[in-house]
């Protein structure tokens, strides 16, 4: 009916089209919609003629708004770019604000240890550090093992198998140890910070803290950030040791090197500065993972589905940050040496 009506209305005519509903027994909502729509488009070109009681009933049942809501105009490419730029600007501003607030609060907590939330710090340290020990150790052990095998394959061709020790030690301590630890911590703890804070935000718990006069930054952010910053270098050192141990096993059991000469060679390849750079990296990763988790958690709006989405986004952002920062540090340290 809608299509026929449209066709009738498309024909130009001198007198308005009169719709006669006197023989209509019943009308459904689609018929009413078609009629109203035709009337709207035809302006004065459509007039309602006689109606049956059935048609009357249907037509009084539905109400017509003053005007139809115009559909949202599609966003042009330029508008989309502009909108994205604005969103990015406010996101950067919010993130820097959070970073500044958290850093100040963290320094304040360190300077006034009585205000520190020790319970929370210990709980977080345990969650982020102690409970991550096994998985970090296992992963970095396997990475050390793998690096050593790859090195062995190449170096054996030159009869330089002993250098497997150098290569494993250097790549684990300078790169793989801090990097793999950070990625695991981002996946384990960064995600849990984001999810926990987001859930608290959605369930008004953070508002609750605010109206009780408690600063969520001091109460929630500082213990998590500090725990990360304290625990991450320790995890990284452990990762270094276990990673070299992986290489050690390859050297001793696959290449037939003596354990003593492997260790001697490995330690000789490392400079004390390598431990410093590893720790600097670990702290920078920890700080970033913490801030990114907090940021994504705090900015969540809406319900439970948003918590999942924001958690995923935080992990992606953390890992992206870790890789970029790692690249940056590697270049800087290379230039410095």
């Amino acid at each position: 009916m809608a299509r026929e009506l449209a066709e009738l209305l498309a024909v130009p005519r001198a007198t308005p089209l009169t719709v006669d509903l006197s023989r209509v027994e019943a009308m459904d909502s689609a018929a009413v919609a078609a009629l109203v729509n035709g009337w709207r488009r035809a302006k004065a070109g459509l007039v309602l003629g006689a109606t049956s009681p059935g048609a009357d009933r249907a037509l009084t049942l539905f109400r017509v708004g003053a005007e139809a809501v115009p559909p949202a105009t599609p966003v042009t490419l330029l508008e989309g770019l502009g909108g994205a730029a604005y969103a990015a600007r406010s996101a950067v501003r919010d993130f820097l604000q959070l970073a500044a607030d958290s850093t100040f609060a963290m320094v304040a907590a360190v300077l006034h240890p009585r205000r520190m939330r020790w319970n929370s710090l210990v709980t977080q340290g345990n969650d982020i550090g102690a409970r991550a020990l096994r998985i970090v150790a296992l992963i970095v052990f396997l990475v050390g093992l793998t690096v050593a095998f790859q090195a062995a394959y190449q170096l054996q061709q030159f009869g330089a198998a002993i250098y497997v020790a150098d290569l494993t030690a250097v790549s684990v301590v300078r790169e793989m140890g801090p990097l793999m630890t950070a990625i695991l911590v981002a996946g384990r703890s960064g995600s849990s910070i984001a999810a926990e804070i987001a859930t608290m935000q959605v369930s008004e718990e953070i508002d609750g803290l605010k109206v009780m006069g408690m600063d969520p930054i001091e109460f929630l952010a500082v213990p998590r950030l500090l725990a990360l910053i304290v625990v991450m270098p320790l995890l990284t050192v452990l990762a270094d040791v276990v990673g070299i141990f992986g290489g050690f096993l390859v050297g001793v059991f696959y290449l037939g090197l003596s354990g003593q000469s492997f260790l001697h060679q490995a330690l000789g390849a490392l400079a004390p500065f390598d431990l410093v750079t590893g720790s600097i990296k670990a702290i920078a990763f920890a700080y970033g993972i913490g801030l990114i988790g907090l940021y994504y958690g705090i900015r969540v709006q809406g319900g439970a589905s948003e918590v999942g989405r924001t958690t995923t986004a935080s992990v992606v952002a953390s890992i992206f940050y870790i890789i970029v920062a790692d690249c940056f540090f590697s270049i800087v340290f290379y230039i410095l040496l």
């Binding site: 009357d56 718990e205 609750g208």
Partner: protein, 266 residues
């Protein structure tokens, strides 16, 4: 001065969200010791008004004076001192999910007082007794029923003996019986402790039971202010619609399809 000032004064409050105006010059005065109910349908701005009164949002214009002090102009210790004198019962309770009911109620006490731990314990027990929740003190908030969670949240909100209590939709999601019990609890707080209580709700039963005075919001403006009977007398169609439970939409500029087609202007 702050002893005699009204518990809450809102003057010309304007709140915008982007280009939308949520509150458009709202005035509200709440006298000490009364239960004041903020009414309104969804989107009327009543939650936004509440969020301004408890300091979660900053007004775009106008001012909010809580217990005689300008909430949004205070900072640091002064602001915290004022917040200590207010309690808020959130819609979902907003208890911390990771600690027990007892710990939740002890939290503001530990934070804002230097009472010894055993006194805090005693105090928490007293508050739990008021809301009749002593048997559930060691449960986590997630293990409580909706009504129990609200009562636990009420106990936390009154932990520091506030002068002014805000309740956001206290009966939302509760069965009529539990909701009625909560109403009685609110009245008990007023009568026994002389608290001033501001309640945001749209439950007619609850309003009739607890309200000393009401304010009705619609489209970001106060369209009725006074005792419940006074407001009910108003000719304002939205107020009539609210109390007589007719849909407001039918009165706002829409006509039946028949009238529209018959040539009433679109």
């Amino acid at each position: 001065m702050s002893q005699t000032a009204p518990a809450l004064v809102v003057r010309g409050l304007v709140a915008r969200y982007g280009e939308r105006t949520i509150l458009d010059g709202v005035d509200l005065t709440v006298a000490r010791g009364e239960v004041r109910v903020i009414l309104g349908g969804s989107g009327s701005g009543k939650s936004t008004l509440l969020k301004h009164c408890i300091g979660l949002l900053t007004p775009d214009a106008g001012e909010v004076r809580v217990l005689g002090q300008p909430l949004h102009d205070l900072e640091g210790a002064e602001r915290i001192a004022l917040l200590r004198r207010m309690g808020v019962l959130f819609q979902s309770g907003a208890l911390l999910g990771s600690i027990s009911v007892r710990e939740n109620i002890a939290l503001p006490l530990r934070e804002h007082t230097d009472l010894p731990e055993d006194v805090i314990g005693e105090l928490v027990s007293l508050k739990l007794e008021v809301v009749e929740l002593s048997h559930a003190e060691n449960l986590l908030p997630g293990e409580l029923s909706g009504g129990m969670r609200k009562r636990a949240a009420l106990a936390r909100a009154m932990a520091l003996d506030p002068d002014l209590m805000f309740c956001d939709e206290p009966s939302a999601g509760l069965d009529p019986l539990t909701s009625a019990e909560l109403d009685e609890l609110i009245l008990r707080l007023r009568d026994r402790f002389g608290m001033t209580i501001v309640v945001v709700t749209h439950e007619l039963m609850s309003i009739a039971r607890i309200a000393d005075r009401v304010i009705m919001l619609s489209g970001g403006k106060a369209i009725g202010d006074g005792t419940l009977d006074e407001v009910k007398q108003s000719d304002e169609p939205e107020i009539q619609a609210f109390f007589n439970r007719t849909a407001a939409g039918e009165m706002r500029g829409s006509a039946s399809a028949l009238d529209t087609l018959r040539g009433a202007s679109p």
